[in-house]
């Protein structure tokens, strides 16, 4: 059993509920014991860093201070939270004046995708009897903050990453090559400039279709929400089209035979079950 601290963040307790459920489910199957950070609060997200530099540091650091009580890494599935935590931990060193009390803890922060791509976990998946996702063509969509800025994420192939692709291939899926892996979906602009987000999201979906993918896989709550819900009017070659969007943890759970996969997938706005039935995977 490996013990880690788990910071879910606000979305995973709401619109990204299936990400929380599938992350917990997969962690359990892989012998990862999650300890949800007690009394956690919001990281401040886009709104804090767009408004005030001190607030953008103080809000994540409040959580880091609690996490520092434990000698465990903290795993964060929401990449927007992860990015804020990484940035705040750096800024806190340079700007102690942003904080009410100094932060000295050195909590090791891990993004859930990176965590599951670690060698021991990969070896563990290899040793398990998995149901291969044969015939499923996936376009791995990393979005922005899973790779950028690389000085925070540590991702070397930040223009053309391939770690999610390799994870999907390990599960038996076929990861297609495509050019929109790290293009932005517009994220939180969806609340205010929905037009921009619809345009960016549909471009990403169209490019995944053109590359021959059946579906998109992501590890970002904003990307998932935007791509899953902004498909109205999407067409290819004059025909109405739609494309399921999975969290990578859902496909891990599917191949590892988790009992709740259908429940997770029933929460999507664009139905993914039809595709998986056609491929005889569910």
């Amino acid at each position: 059993m490996k013990d880690v601290t788990y910071y879910p963040g606000c979305s995973l307790h709401g619109t990204a509920r299936e990400y929380d459920e599938s992350f917990r489910g997969v962690s359990e199957l892989l012998g990862v014991n999650l300890h949800e950070l007690e009394d956690w609060t919001c990281c401040g997200s886009t709104s804090a860093h767009c408004t005030d530099e001190a607030l953008a540091v103080a809000l994540p650091v409040r959580n880091l201070t609690i996490a520092a009580k434990y000698d465990r890494e903290m795993v964060i599935p929401c990449v927007a939270c992860y990015s804020r935590f990484k940035a705040a931990a750096e800024e806190a060193k340079e700007h102690p004046e942003y904080l009410l009390s100094p932060y000295e803890g050195k909590v090791s922060l891990r993004y859930a995708l990176d965590f599951f791509c670690d060698k021991p976990i990969i070896e563990d998946i290899k040793s398990k009897k998995i149901k291969p996702l044969s015939g499923l063509k996936v376009a791995c969509y990393y979005g922005c903050l899973a790779v950028r800025p690389p000085k925070l994420t540590g991702v070397k192939l930040y223009e053309n990453p391939d770690h999610m692709d390799r994870l999907m291939e390990l599960l038996g899926a076929e990861a297609v090559d495509w050019s929109y892996k790290t293009d932005c979906c517009g994220a939180s602009l969806v609340m205010t400039r929905t037009d921009i987000v619809t345009s960016l999201s549909q471009k990403i979906l169209a490019m995944a279709m053109e590359a021959g993918a059946d579906c998109i896989v992501t590890g970002c709550t904003m990307c998932h929400a935007n791509l899953d819900t902004r498909q109205a009017g999407l067409t290819a070659e004059g025909e109405k089209r739609e494309m399921p969007v999975f969290y990578f943890t859902e496909l891990m759970g599917l191949s590892m035979g988790h009992k709740d996969v259908k429940k997770w997938l029933s929460r999507h706005v664009t139905d993914p079950i039809k595709l998986l039935s056609n491929k005889i995977l569910i």
């Binding site: 509920r17 609060t41 997200s45 408004t51 409040r62 009410l100 950028r148 932005c184 819900t229």
Partner: protein
Amino acid sequence: MNLNEAPIEKNNPFIEEVIKVSNVNIQACYQCQKCSAGCPVVFAMDIMPNQIVRQIQYGRREKVLTSKTIWICASCHTCSVRCPNDIDIAKVMDSLRHLALKSGLKAGEGEIPVFHSVFLDSIKASGRIHELSLILRFKLKTRDFLKDAALGWEMFRRGKIKILPQSFTGGRDIKEIFRAYEKGRGI
């Protein structure tokens, strides 16, 4: 270049202000336009990212701080990663938003800063974002109640929208954090 624009400020306090707040050396820019070439939202901007840098060098404070651009920027960091002169443009955009909010000038994109302030009010009130409350608070400001109502129902049906916020016990810390922020802002 538009010769009718205001002349370059010889004494340029704006560039000093931006460098001080962002700690980014924007004087290193040689206008290769790589930031704008890779920007996914440039089509919705009124001033392209490379032009924002130039306008700061020209000292045109009001033009920059009232632009749509600083609010349309989605903080995707593509510009910063690709800049050959290592100018962290995404960070400059953050600093420009902070300066714009402090300046009292009218924002070029009205709803975006309103959304951020509603978002922060939600954190202040309940520590975590309860999405339904956030959306309702925002709709009370914009009065656009029908937008995405059907989608909201679809998401509710699928168990993605929680009716009640979660209990919250970190109130004292959050209040202190916001008190310090409001004091710094003179609110």
